[in-house]
């Protein structure tokens, strides 16, 4: 059997970065608790011996308090060797887990990460003495720059099992004893900069600052996204790619293949949004409409993640989130969901109770539009400015709030309080940031593009087979009667199951009024998550709870759509 090595440690100590360094497998790392909620497997090869290396979620102790920690503890028990990663700037608290790991009798090697920061903040640690006291190898690393990784790699085999003899209730005094022997802290005053940064978590200053950060982020994302579209992607598609496709179009005779590949020509020209061909809309939507926003969003998100701002935001919004039966930390799945609902759904694992996870996942799936959905909304109502975009997003926000409040009242179960480590602010390491951005863009391209193309293909088939017009007639009472939309828009709803962004192409030619466009945008976002998100949610919530969540989705969509139809 292959040896199984696991990386264990407190949250946010850099396990994922060390994992990437050792295996070459890229995983997302950020500066907050709970970035890793699922384990990632990789392999390391040493003198022809191949071992499995697992990047486990972080945990403060072997007694798990949430699902991510449960995953970690389970992996730990199945492992043959443990690489225990510690934040050297926080030795005392980190050693608490180390002693628990040592007590288990598994071979352990200890890694003191963030070694470069230690001196910086006036701490000195006697590594040799620490090694002697705990009796297992101790290596120092700075994972971000790669310092010390080679040393760690060569010493993995020296990991030793050492059963420790101490009573559970003496663990902290044991930790205290070790600290006294190996660590010296030279007293240091707070710098001016630290005082300034402290303002971001005090309510009087923190709340206005958080609004500023959010507005600024949104403005920058919109600016970057729109600039990329206007100056790069649209000119490319219109001036370079378009003429090529027109040539192809004249080569192909009108017929089935032409319709599928290129779609309908509109006034003899290709309309990349409305033509609905694989090579036209199928490529234009993911690349020229969504990708620019994906790039802009993840650039800003990665920056916020790596700086350490998100946990502070979690504290500031805690009070508000309690109205929804959640606590501040649930802002993290919501924010991740703005990029893509799939990682958002997975991130609900950092929440402790079933109730919290259900509310967070349902509210996110219904009311948090992913970047592709946002691009769709921009495409539909962007030209109307606040009257369009503003109304759509404001409606979603209100619906999310009301749904949360109702679910909080109706669902039994506990809503625990926030309990969260606030990491120090760090200047994002640009290499790591770019790598993360690239991983996310690659993830989008490899997952979304095939779905869009399949989606466009299916729409064409459904049109040809007459399924869309059949469904249109069937659902007319609801679509037209309740929501006030033309019956042809049912096609967009059908394909929205697969991908929401493609739906723009199907709604755009219907010549709808602003009111109808707003309603269409809102219900397309709300009625159902895309297939990918749905699959993950079934896994996370279980079939029964997902059925309940689906009922909430459909019901609230009809109610909200109906109300909008009446009041707008």
């Amino acid at each position: 059997m292959m040896k199984r090595i696991v990386l264990m440690g407190n949250p946010n100590v850099g396990k994922s970065v060390i994992f990437s360094r050792l295996t070459g497998v890229n995983v997302i790392a950020s500066n907050y608790t709970g970035t890793t909620v699922e384990y990632t497997k990789g392999y390391i090869r040493k003198e022809n011996e191949k071992s499995e290396l697992i990047d486990a979620p972080g945990t403060y102790s072997l007694k798990a308090t949430n699902r991510a920690e449960e995953v970690a503890v389970k992996i730990f028990h199945s492992s043959d060797l443990v690489i225990n990663v510690l934040d050297a700037t926080n030795l005392e608290r980190n050693l608490n887990l180390t002693l628990q790991l040592l007590k288990s009798g598994k071979p352990v090697i200890v890694v003191l990460n963030f070694w470069d920061e230690v001196k910086h903040i006036g701490i000195s640690i006697n590594v040799d003495r620490l090694e002697k006291i705990i009796g297992v190898p101790v290596v120092t690393t700075c994972a971000l720059t790669g310092e010390g990784i080679k040393n760690l790699f060569s010493r993995i085999d020296q990991a030793k099992a050492r059963s420790y003899t101490f009573r559970e209730n003496q663990r902290w005094s044991k930790v205290g004893h070790i600290i006294q022997n190996v660590q010296r802290i030279s007293h240091r005053h707070h710098t001016v900069w630290e005082r300034v940064l402290d303002l971001t978590i005090k309510p009087m200053t923190g709340l206005p600052l958080s609004i500023l950060v959010l507005i600024l982020s949104f403005a920058v994302i919109r600016f970057i996204g729109e600039s990329l579209i206007t100056y790069l992607f649209e000119p490319f598609f219109e001036k370079i790619y378009g003429p090529l496709i027109l040539k192809l179009s004249s080569l192909l005779k009108p017929g089935m293949i032409h319709d599928i590949l290129i779609g309908r020509l509109i006034n003899g020209r290709i309309d990349f949004v409305e033509s609905l061909g694989l090579l036209t809309t199928g490529l234009f939507v993911p690349f020229a409409m969504v990708l620019p926003y994906i790039f802009a969003f993840y650039l800003i998100l990665s920056f916020l993640e790596d700086s350490g701002y998100l946990p502070r935001l979690a504290v500031l919004v805690d009070n508000f989130m309690h109205r929804l039966g959640l606590h501040g930390l649930s802002i993290i799945p919501m924010i991740l969901g703005l990029g893509c609902n799939v990682p958002g759904a997975l991130a609900t694992r950092i929440l402790e109770t079933k109730k919290e996870r259900f509310i967070a996942a349902t509210v996110m799936a219904i009311c948090v539009p992913c970047t592709a959905q946002i691009a769709m909304v921009m495409g539909l109502v962007g030209q109307y400015g606040v009257k369009g975009i503003g109304v759509v997003f404001f409606t979603l926000f209100i619906v999310g709030f009301v749904l949360g409040v109702i679910m909080n009242k109706l669902i039994k179960g506990e809503s625990p309080e926030i309990f969260l480590e606030i990491p120090p602010y760090r200047i994002p390491y640009w290499k790591g940031l770019l790598k993360k951005l690239w991983m996310r863009i690659k993830g989008f391209l490899s997952e979304a593009v095939p779905y869009v193309i399949v989606g466009v293909f299916i729409i064409n088939m459904l049109y040809v087979l007459g399924v869309i017009s059949f469904l249109g007639k069937l659902s007319e009472p609801v679509i037209k009667g309740v929501l006030g939309l033309p019956k042809e828009s049912v096609g967009a709803l059908v394909i929205g199951f697969l991908r929401k962004d493609v739906a723009v192409g199907m709604l755009a030619p219907l010549g709808m009024s602003l009111k109808q466009l707003v309603i269409a945008s809102v219900i397309l976002t709300m009625y159902f998550p895309c297939v990918a998100t749905f699959t993950v949610l079934v896994k996370e919530l279980g079939i029964l709870d997902m059925a309940k969540a689906t009922a909430v989705m459909i019901l609230s969509t009809l109610i909200v759509g109906g109300i909008l139809n009446l009041i707008l």
Partner: protein, 78 residues
């Protein structure tokens, strides 16, 4: 007895006791919050919002209800 709620921003306090069951105590203990440790209150949010404390080198945010169950003895300003 004073609790974490009664400390003012920037004040330090020695934890004299935790009022709660096993789960509560284990949860706090995992992050080093335990009897006999000195902590510093960094901030508290409006309307019974979370309290931020500094313990050792790290900062932890905890809910108002939890903070109310942590007894402290004031040890003055930093």
């Amino acid at each position: 007895m004073k609790t974490l709620i009664d400390l003012k921003e920037g004040e330090k306090g020695l934890i004299t006791g935790l009022d709660g069951g096993h789960g509560f105590i284990n949860k706090l203990e995992a992050l080093g919050i335990r009897k006999g440790v000195v902590i510093e209150k960094k901030s508290s949010q409006f309307m019974k919002g979370p309290v931020c404390i500094k313990i050792g080198a790290c900062q932890v945010a905890l809910g108002f209800g939890m903070a109310r169950r942590i007894f402290v003895k004031e040890t003055g300003r930093k």
